[in-house]
Subunit: 630 residues, 2 copies
């Protein structure tokens, strides 16, 4: 008999109690794990309207059945909580070795409730779990905490997931960090963890993770190794996600000076190629992955010395601290990145918030009086470094920016608010709907705010539909030109959003598995799950897990009062970009509005974007309709 | 490069012209073939409101990419036309050798328009097609026509699909017959063919049918042969579909005396076991199928001599001519079956129409004056034989009954109409919604009228969910008790209807492939298509083809003016059965009404059950919304 036997750890920090749940196989088959399972527990147990930073909020960390298999792209962990950034569902994914190791502790998920009176950390090892005092770790940066925990537990191989000082300080966009350089970055999951006085989760796993069909997993791994060099992710291995800088620039798709333009005249120093030729010390990887997309950079001389322990900047980091801010100083950006990993902050929201402040400064809406004397012009590399540290520590002007651009803007009036580039207060990442139009819809509609890894972008380069064959696997037979939001583009967006949502619930990397250019196809993704579990798993179930995930998250938001009015874009994106190939391009509001209506109806949601009871019943989760009083 | 290269024959009988279309691979991948492709051409080319028996109606015959592979259950052909029974889409499936042989002519579908001035037959051989005079065949029975065509074309191996005299005579429920004993039985496709003066389609195919992965097909065949004896269809091979008689009786699910009761006290002589022990001469099969479910019966003595050339009765035939009519004379039923195959008529509608007439006779609503002297009491075996021949020839009372029960009833007043057991004028087959409640919904809602092979019945026996594992492949993780029509039952009905609709478009046998008790699982069904085509085909695409099929057919009906009012059950099913385990049981009208509302909403249809534009767009067939002005 096949199936999946998992264990879920329930931790109540208020009562300091720990219990273990062993759900039936069918629970895993319905939800997968990851984001769907996390949202499940929030809908079941978090009271509606909970303060994201109060004890009623919950934080879940879930892997999925394939996690820990020796195949590229499976070592991922999903963090779910009500977001202190958006007030909606929060969702952030991270890779590394922590997820695969966690599986070897005998668990596949953690559901955390309440708030500890004093700082604690959770220590999980081979089927056991305990809360330990973390008072001595409070205030320490990630690298130090990791070393201290390894020291006190007497094992250098212990994996540590943690919040840095930013999470302790309730920086809204604080992240959860593992290995000191992998982040559940977005939507403020670190602030939630910090608010609970939970400093870290340390794990040691030596149990054997059982998989149904090791031969099939080995074959998948072999196929991946063999086909990697010919695949579209090979260059991502060489240059990191930073490989994207140059093509984005070429297409007018590199957000520059807080989205004033889509071209950054001084982009060359911040490309992946430049990084590889200059400060790159090593390429790092996640458990069992051939891609090695992670950067390790080191700078030993000059104004900004950068410690390789904290990794290196991703594309998004190079953009938000770089082009967003008009900065092309790779050392300064790398230093800001190091701070984000040391202190535990999302590089996208952090960089984008500083960029917004610069835009305000340029417009005279924020002055040096506000900034504590910092001349916050675009291009000021020193300022981004200084402010990043100030934000983490909530010092000076950083205390204001630690609230994120949307909340900070409330202090500076409507003109400043008009310069915010965020959806649901969540700063927009560095892919432009002006040149990849489906992003307009998904940025607006995504349940956890603007996100660039929630669907398959329509290509901003001369359409290369060599991967149309692969997209046919999810029913998309025709190329989707990037310049419209018609019904077929809405369908394309929705179908690929289901796929990406499934990746978040089955916890695979979106560079390694997917329906387009990724190393493995959608069918191979289903095969991974089949081999791991023994289920006759297939793309119908997989896509339904994706749709179920999306509906769970939209239902959560509906319960929190979100409506269509929240599914919109910031004013600035309705105004034209300046210069380059995207000169004059903007998202027409009526085009977005129309697309949203189509998207809701296609999704089986009501005109406010709320899942209907019958859609939830169709997905086998009718209980959600009761949970949200729909 | 993988993919499918097919050819479609277009025959205009009015102009006697023949053209060949070679659609792109993506056309096949979107629609499959069979019912979806047939409905596609009707929506594209048949004017709305066309007379089903006039030249504007079209008749399509489609196989699908897997047809002709040497694997059980793939030799099927789907007939689609506007139905002269329902006025809605007509849909009938048949097996045999014709479909596999047709593929070897180099074609995979025929689209027939117009009307020939004089009788013709279509002769297709190895990539060529011609219309030939059929005046000399007109009026002849199927066996004679087959022999005559084989003689005149000089090849005994020529396969003939044809209408019998019933189709010529426009008996509403005339069938299309191949091999003299396989029928595209339901919804009057033979009447449409007859109305066009198209007597037959004779084929000879010696071309090689290309398949992408012969090794995989061979492996599927090997697996099927190996697992057949342990499978749930093994006894169907032994006893035919007639194996169902005894368990239906046991559960009160054998419609008796025009649905007055669900138990037939004299059922023993008409069981599959009895048939095997008495008149069974041989077991017949379709191309490459291990199941051998087809019956060949022979009776050489007594009142009813039965020619084995015309096969033997299915379960439905034993029920409609048997228990429906209170008749347990196996010889008489077999004779009626022989007539249906000789003359080309649907045994279900024919038997059920006679049963309705008997019910009226018992109630004094029809008298022996009406019947030309036939004493039409329940149990009159001779009457069913006589009337069957009369219907085919439109002689005597048969001329009235040739219109089907619903139209015949119009002659005899409302009390007689209240005894009609039909949906959309389509007689209800022999599975009872009183004991398998999902049938109530699907009988009412199915686009081509009451049909028992349009979804997976909830079991009427003590639920044996040993096959729950298989249903999990299409997302159905929980057993569905047979006694409700709640939201989860509606979902179960809809998902399995998608599966069955996919079977009709990919042209596989519903006994051999499926998501439950069938020989091959749903996943193996997808594998069949993958191996045949080289597409990375999967259950997501497969289920979407099913949903697309259903939506195409509902859209066709919407264009013809069908609304929710047409999706209902006959009065009699809202009244209690009498006797046995189903004593007192009936379908509550408000339960059905509620289920329909849920079913429409889950389907993405409007409150009248019409596909919305956005649902059609979601399925990649937005053009249909324009075609039906929605």
């Amino acid at each position: 008999m096949s199936g999946y036997n998992g264990k879920i750890l329930h931790v109540d920090l208020t009562s300091q109690s720990i219990t273990i749940e062993q759900p039936p196989d069918s629970f895993y088959r319905l939800y997968g794990g990851g984001s769907a399972m996390g949202t499940y527990y929030l809908l079941k147990n978090m009271p509606a309207g909970a303060d994201p930073l109060g004890p009623d909020n919950m934080l879940t960390l879930f892997t999925a059945p394939p996690t820990g298999a020796a195949v590229s792209g499976q070592s991922r962990v999903s963090a779910i909580a009500k977001s202190p950034v958006t007030g909606a569902i929060g969702d952030a994914q991270a890779g590394g070795f922590w997820p695969a190791t966690f599986k070897r502790t005998g668990f596949d998920g953690i559901v955390i409730r309440g708030k500890s009176e004093t700082p604690v950390y959770l220590w999980i090892h081979d089927g056991e779990a305990e809360l330990r005092d973390a008072s001595h770790l409070w205030g320490k940066i990630t690298g130090e905490v990791q070393a201290a925990i390894q020291d006190e537990l007497g094992d250098k191989k212990i994996e540590v997931m943690q919040v840095g000082p930013a999470g302790e300080n309730l920086v809204r966009f604080a992240s959860i960090i593992n290995m000191s350089n992998r982040a559940n970055g977005r939507t403020g999951m670190g602030a939630v963890m910090g608010s609970k006085n939970l400093k870290a989760i340390a794990i040691k796993g030596t149990l054997k993770t059982e998989f149904h069909d090791l031969a099939a997993l080995k074959e998948l791994a072999r196929w991946g190794a063999k086909n990697f060099e010919e695949s579209d992710v090979y260059t991502m291995g060489l240059y990191g996600t930073a490989e994207t800088v140059a093509p984005q620039q070429e297409d007018g798709g590199l957000p520059t000076r807080n989205w004033t333009s889509g071209v950054f005249e001084g982009f060359e120093p911040i490309t992946g190629e430049t990084m590889s030729e200059t400060i790159l010390k090593d390429r790092d990887t996640c458990y069992a992955c051939v891609v090695r997309c992670k950067r390790v950079v080191e700078i030993t001389e000059g104004e900004y010395k950068v410690d390789p322990h904290y990794g290196g900047p991703e594309y998004e980091t190079l953009a938000t601290f770089g082009s967003y801010c008009g900065v092309n100083d790779l050392a300064a950006i790398s230093k800001a990145n190091e701070f984000c990993n040391k202190y535990g902050m999302d590089t996208i929201s952090c960089g984008a918030t500083i960029a917004w402040a610069m835009d305000c400064y340029e417009h005279g809406l924020i002055t040096s009086q506000d900034t504590g004397g910092i001349e916050l012009n675009f291009g000021n590399a020193a300022a981004i470094v200084t402010l990043t540290e100030q934000i983490a520590k909530r010092e000076g002007f950083g205390d204001t920016l630690a609230e994120g651009s949307a909340r900070a803007a409330e202090k500076f009036g409507s003109a400043a608010q008009d310069l915010v580039v965020a959806v649901k207060k969540h700063e927009v990442p560095a892919h432009m709907p002006e040149v990849k139009r489906s992003l307009a819809l998904i940025y607006a509609a995504n349940p956890y705010g603007a996100d660039h890894q929630s669907h398959e972008h329509d290509p901003n380069y001369t359409p290369d539909w060599s991967y149309t064959d692969r997209m046919a696997e999810i029913g998309l037979l025709d190329p989707q030109p990037p310049d419209n939001l018609n019904a077929q583009k809405v369908r394309y967006s929705l179908y690929t959003q289901w796929m990406y949502s499934a990746m978040n619930s089955l916890c695979v990397c979106q560079f390694v598995f997917g329906a387009a250019w990724q190393l493995y196809s959608a069918g191979q993704f289903a095969e991974l799950v089949r081999a791991a579990t023994g289920w006759d798993f297939n793309l119908f179930e997989l896509m339904k897990i994706g749709e179920r995930t999306l509906n769970l998250q939209r239902a959560f938001n509906a319960r929190e009062g979100f409506t269509k009015a929240d599914d919109t874009l910031p004013k600035k994106l309705f105004q034209p970009r300046k210069g380059g190939p995207s000169d004059g391009v903007f998202v027409p509001p009526e085009q977005l509005d129309n697309a949203l209506d189509m998207y809701y109806e296609m999704s089986g949601w009501d005109p406010e974007g709320r899942p209907t009871r019958l859609k939830l019943e169709e997905l086998g989760i009718g209980w959600v309709a009761d949970a949200i009083n729909n």
